[in-house]
Amino acid sequence: MSGLEFLLAGTLAASLPLLLAALGEMVVEKTGLLNLGLEGMMAIGAAIAFICVFHTGSHVLGFAAAALISTAVAMLFAILVIGVKANEVASGLAIGVLGLGLSALFGKSYESRTISGLPKIDIPVLSDIPLIGPTLLTQDIVVWLAVLGTIALWWVLNRTKLGLIIAAVGENADAARSIGYPVVLIRLCAVAFGGAMCGLAGAYASTVYTPLWADGMIAGRGWIALALVVFGTWQTGRVAFGALLFGILSLGELTAQAMGVGLPSQVLSSLPYLVTILMLVVISRRRSGLV
């Protein structure tokens, strides 16, 4: 297989954790909140999913458990921020640290254990297409579900009343309340959704993408996802595009091979983080220039 074929085959899977976490956070931010705890919520989801699959062998159970536990952590954030009106940034960071800590604790005795991933699905006709058939179009079930889910989310946010309500709450919570929308409930649901998406993202990373447990395996992907929301200017399509872009970057060496550049692998693996920092700087400059 050439570098290009590897890229085609691997990009979607590599972007998936970023995509799920970023879309979840996007919805949270659209309702006017900011949850910085993505990294921790992904980590705890990853740990619980791994443990679950390790003992039961069921990926469905693993994903469900991960979504549940990360939602629980997200609810803690909601209680702090919506309930007792604690500072958003501090609360987000705190539950992030909590999630990371818990994942290390639970995962301790599973260090370096492996499980089996998910099979890639051969779709008749599609997989016969040359070049992209056996690579890009041969993916596991979660990838296909995520593609459908992204389209569904776009539709909900842009074409339905629910999407309108979310935008309204985010723009002017007082006004939304005064025309009778349950702002607190809507925000609570958004935070729960964001948590669940982080859980799923973590679960995919630990049980499908690299079905092997290692402490710190999320490796900053939560932060990249956070940056992606800003990069994608809170629009589903752009966030998804950003996730793909970072998926490619995170495949470092393969990408270099495909493009025929010979950079040291350390440089390549730090690339996503560098680009994230650059991107945030550029975006914040552009925004302050506008005001």
């Binding site: 009343k161 309108l164 309500i165 935008a167 309204a168 723009e171 002017n172 007082d174 006004a175 939304a176 309340r177 005064s178 025309i179 009778g180 929308y181 349950p182």
Partner: protein
């Protein structure tokens, strides 16, 4: 009346911290009646309406709907009963379009809603483009959207908190016709306004609030504006004696063929605007909002940059390319028409809001804020301009509408500007305070300040200005001498019949 009242309040009270906003209020509203609630700024009118609409809950007292006691925990409870409300501070979403805003409250397909909005607009003279983005609309247009949104709900009781404060005279006429039609259909209307003539014309009952208590119930048709005002403020209305202006001095603000393309499909293109403003004079710009007032104010204040530096001159300097800060440094001050968001930051305290424009008044030292100076300034502003508030730490967003206006205006006046632009100076201000504000502007004029006033209230412009212009569809009329022109002539310019 044998029927029970549609809405009855009994000994309803509401307290915010140390402020007793409503105290043991009794009120009865009947179907087919237009009931006025009047009172000074901060008397508790908006608070009372919020209790009826379920935005806030009373600390004590009972609310009866058709004779049944009800508990309104949230606005949707009130909506279910058939109560609709147009807020004093709008509850629209700026990043959404008019139809989207409406669809948040009214079920239906966007296309059908757009049609309903257009129909209702035609029927009641509240026309507005259903697909316009709300942030592009003038304050007056936004209010139309709010009223339409409410009427689409077919309420039994309609609450209007200062609906006419920013509507141009023609629209007020049509709104009144609308309200009378609704009244004839049996709707009950609660109507708040500081314009006592409107209340006398429209309403059949009036409850007067002072300091959170009901101090009187009258038939406004049997009283003149003066005695209503007296009921409201509890003392005689002050008389304003006008000093004739002295001849104006040197030129302080000049617009030279100022043209600017509209920013969007819904904006107004300004074309060849010439204007001169001199020290010691007040020049007024009349016209119906939405004819370029917002654009013009943004250009003069520096929020939008002019295409060429020379199009705008402040204190003899070409400033078209400069930002608001640089213009303020030259001695310019600005009171925008939107108080919340442009004039003040609602989440910040009054003291911090002072800092926003008055930081140059030694409030900063080596980059640090000198809180004591900030507070002293704010306290002085509160006292001088009779702002009714607990103190400098009060949140701007929690102030009553008129009091916030007094604060913002006071803050700018205290900067001792050489040139000042004031948009809608007395919007939502009670008549006592409005008189005081106009007198302040005249005092400033006599001290040599050059003042440009943009207002929809013709009486106000005639009272304080020596020269008038009319803005119509982005064109500014030549200067008219206020002593020689008539409201009729201004009216012809306003509708484009004269140029």
């Amino acid at each position: 009346m044998s029927q029970p009242a549609l809405l009855r309040l009994s000994k309803v009270s509401k307290r915010y911290g140390t402020v007793q906003a409503n105290k043991e209020i009794d009120l009865e509203v009947h179907s087919g009646s237009i009931h006025a609630v009047l009172g000074e700024n901060g008397a508790g009118k908006s608070t009372l309406m919020k209790l009826i609409y379920g935005v806030e809950q009373p600390d004590a007292g009972h609310i009866y709907w058709n004779g049944q006691e009800v508990h309104l925990a949230r606005p949707s409870d009130a909506q279910v009963l058939g109560i609709g409300m147009v807020f004093q501070h709008f509850s629209l979403f700026e990043t959404l379009s008019v139809v989207q805003n409406v669809s948040l409250m009214i079920p239906g397909k966007p296309a059908e809603l757009a049609q309903q909005i257009a129909d209702l607009g035609d029927q009641f003279g509240l026309s507005v483009d259903p697909h316009a983005m709300v942030h592009r609309l003038s304050v007056g247009e936004r209010q139309r959207v709010e009223i339409i949104r409410c009427l689409l709900l077919n309420p039994k009781l309609l609450i209007l908190d200062e609906p006419t404060s920013v509507l141009p005279p023609q629209s007020v006429r049509r709104l009144f016709e609308t309200l009378r039609k609704l009244q004839a259909d049996g709707m009950a209307i609660l109507f708040i306004s500081h314009k006592l003539d409107e209340i006398r014309e429209l309403c059949d009952t009036a409850s007067v609030l002072r300091g959170g208590e009901v101090t009187g119930r009258v038939d406004p048709r049997e009283h003149d504006a003066r005695s209503l005002a007296q009921l409201m403020i509890g003392r005689e209305m002050p008389n304003v004696a006008h000093v004739a202006p002295r001849p104006p001095g040197e030129e302080r603000l000049r617009l030279n063929a100022l043209s600017h393309p509209r920013a969007s499909r819904f904006g107004t293109t300004l074309e060849g605007i010439d204007l001169k403003l001199r020290s010691g004079e007040i020049v007024g710009i009349a016209g119906i909002s939405g004819n370029g007032q917002q654009e013009l104010a943004a250009l003069i204040s520096g929020e939008t940059r002019a295409q060429e530096p020379g199009m705008i001159e402040i204190m003899g300097k070409k400033v078209g390319h400069l930002g608001p800060m640089a213009r303020r440094k030259l001695g310019f001050a600005f009171v925008p028409e939107e108080r919340l968001g442009r004039g003040a930051v609602p989440e910040m305290s009054l003291a911090d809001n002072s800092l926003l424009t008055a930081h140059g008044r030694s409030m900063l030292s080596r980059g640090f804020i000198r809180r004591s100076v900030e507070r002293a300034f704010t306290r002085e502003c509160i006292e001088t301009f009779d702002v009714r508030t607990p103190g400098p730490d009060a949140e701007a967003g929690a102030m009553s509408g008129g009091n916030l206006q007094k604060f913002i205006l006071g803050r700018e006046i205290m900067l001792n500007p050489d040139v000042m632009l004031v948009s809608q100076p007395t919007w939502g201000v009670d008549i006592g305070a409005a008189t005081a504000i106009r007198r302040r502007l005249l005092d400033m004029r006599d001290q040599g300040c050059a003042i440009l006033v943009i207002s929809e209230e013709m009486d106000e412009l005639f009272e304080i200005c020596s020269k008038l212009h009319v803005l119509h569809k982005g064109h500014l009329s030549p200067a008219l001498d206020a002593a020689e022109t008539t409201p009729q002539e201004i009216g012809r310019y306003m509708i484009g019949a004269a140029t």
